[in-house]
């Protein structure tokens, strides 16, 4: 049973092999042979069929390739981040194996970038990585750094990450545009970038494989130049954090909670609201600390709450004063609270109470 099914699979594979056709077309160097046959009768008697000679031609090499950005949007990055990637596919649509040289050109300042907007800065430390396929997207530990694409078979597509570092001190919305150009090279020997390819000039060489460029125009290259290009851009999306501190009197020894006044002995609630402006990146691991030293106030034990809707709300979650896993603590006369993430366009709140000395 097992053996016969194996045989079946083998037969199916053979069939696939026999019928394999390439989107890029018949492989270069193949001879296409054609023979006709004539059948006839003489005096009502069938005569042996006569074959013609074989008409033949050799398939020449069509050099063609496509570079295409993966995705349709800028890659958002934060200033100072390293190993950021924009990703492209490079497809060999030639009917022969080729190497592809890779080059990156950064947009000139104020040039229009891939998805609208204008170029503001250049990235640094630009490298190429070949996607391993293990995990989608650029993974420094998995993908292989390359300087060119080696021995790419006809019809094969490879994913190339253009990886760069982002300079510091870039404002939200700043863009760095760049263009990846792949240029056809002879496949040559493995692990070495092949020689430049030129179109066969002049008349055809019968019986030899001539080279014809058939590529379209890319973003920055011309049609039929053996190269193709596409652009993409990095977009700065930094978190923009602001903090506001406010206070309100909760009670005083004379009035209680009715119209309390800020007199000695009164309980005052401080509120620190941390806002991440809209349009930027989420801020992570945001820590808020408020030192009470030097102020004429005394911290009310176990009064820290985190996550209230706003500064007058009372729906914050109470936290202990110990430096433990509950994201808030009071030590050395300083209150501290931390937030795992503050998404763009949102505000987080820490509240705590003191008594006026």
């Amino acid at each position: 049973m097992k053996l016969s099914s194996l045989k079946y699979i083998a037969a199916a594979l053979l069939m696939v092999g026999a019928q394999q056709t390439f989107a890029a077309g018949t492989l270069s160097g193949a001879d296409v042979n054609n023979t006709a046959t004539i059948n006839y009768q003489v005096g009502g008697v069938a005569q042996p069929a006569q074959p013609s000679n074989t008409a033949t031609f050799k398939v020449d090499r069509k050099v063609n390739l496509t570079v295409a950005e993966v995705g349709t949007a800028d890659t958002t990055v934060t200033p100072g981040s390293t190993n950021q990637a924009v990703t492209f596919t490079v497809t060999n649509t030639a009917n022969a194996a080729l190497d592809f040289a890779l080059t990156v050109t950064q947009d000139a300042t104020n040039a229009t970038t891939a998805h609208g907007g204008t170029d503001d800065f250049d990235v640094t430390n630009v490298r190429f990585f070949l996607e391993s396929g293990a995990t989608a997207g650029f993974q420094a530990g998995e993908d292989t750094q390359i300087t060119f694409l080696d021995e790419i078979a006809a019809d094969a597509t490879f994913t190339v990450h253009v990886v760069a570092d982002i300079p510091n001190a870039q404002a939200n919305g700043n863009q760095s545009g760049l263009t990846l150009t792949a240029t056809s090279r002879e496949a040559g020997t493995a692990a070495a970038q092949g020689a430049a390819i030129t179109e066969t000039a002049g008349a055809d060489t019968p019986g030899a494989v001539d080279t014809v460029f058939a590529d379209g125009a890319g973003d920055t290259d011309a049609a039929r130049d053996g190269a193709h290009s596409d652009d993409d851009a990095f977009l700065i999306s930094a978190a923009q954090i602001t903090a506001a501190k406010s206070s309100r009197v909760i009670s005083d020894p004379s009035n209680g909670t009715t119209n309390p006044k800020a007199i000695p002995g009164a309980v005052v609630e401080y509120c620190i609201a941390v806002t991440n402006a809209a349009g930027g990146a989420a801020a992570t691991n945001v820590t808020v600390a408020d030192a009470l030293a030097g102020q004429p106030v005394t911290y009310v034990a176990a009064s820290i709450t985190l996550g209230a809707t706003n500064c007058t709300a009372t729906d914050g979650v109470a936290k202990t004063d110990a430096a433990d896993a509950d994201e808030a603590s009071f030590a050395a006369n300083t209150t501290t609270g931390s937030f795992a993430s503050v998404p763009a366009g949102s505000t987080v709140v820490m509240q705590f109470r003191v008594t006026i000395n």
Binding site: T26, Q50, S52
Partner: protein, 169 residues
């Protein structure tokens, strides 16, 4: 050329092939009374820029052919014998790397096959059976063989040409 055919065939078929060649050789050496000659040639059209800058289309033997290039075959036949040949049929299997486009020339109507030469007819009359058992009208790209049948006998010395266009896959 016959040896070439032999080497292309699978081992189990060699036996019948050898038999066929022996028969063919026998007739050849006996010099058949009526001998038809068939020649096959392949051409392509190229654009040539003349000295005046005008682009002209020119027919040349097919040499610069890349996927997508159109070529055309011209099959010439001649009766070199001394007896009339009747029921003359010229058959040309379309090479597997080529996609049939159409026959050229109105002189002789062509028949085509989309089932490896089993049945022939006008392309519009043929259908292709799909994997699910349904059928669809045949397209030019389905054509596997093209055949021309001469309506009248080919007298000694008579000759003619048939032709078809195809595109390299």
């Amino acid at each position: 050329m016959k040896i070439m055919i032999m080497t292309r065939l699978n081992v189990p078929k060699i036996h019948t092939c050898v038999l066929a060649i022996v028969l063919a050789c026998g007739f050849g050496s006996a010099k058949a009374a009526s001998e038809l000659r068939l020649t096959n040639a392949v051409f392509q059209e190229i654009e040539v820029k003349g000295e005046d800058g005008k682009v002209e289309r020119k027919t040349v033997p097919a040499a610069r052919v890349i996927p997508g290039t159109e070529v055309f075959y011209v099959i010439s036949y001649q009766n070199a014998g001394d007896k009339a040949a009747e029921k003359v049929a010229i058959t040309n299997p379309v090479p597997k790397d080529l996609e049939y486009i159409a026959a050229i020339g109105p002189s002789i109507a062509e028949e085509v096959s989309v089932d490896a030469g089993k049945t022939y007819g006008a392309l519009t009359a043929l259908t292709v059976t799909l994997p699910d058992g349904n059928t669809r009208p045949a397209k030019a790209s389905d054509v596997t063989h093209v055949r021309w049948k001469l309506a009248s006998a080919l007298k000694p010395g008579d000759e003619g040409k048939v032709s078809f266009r195809a595109k390299l896959k």
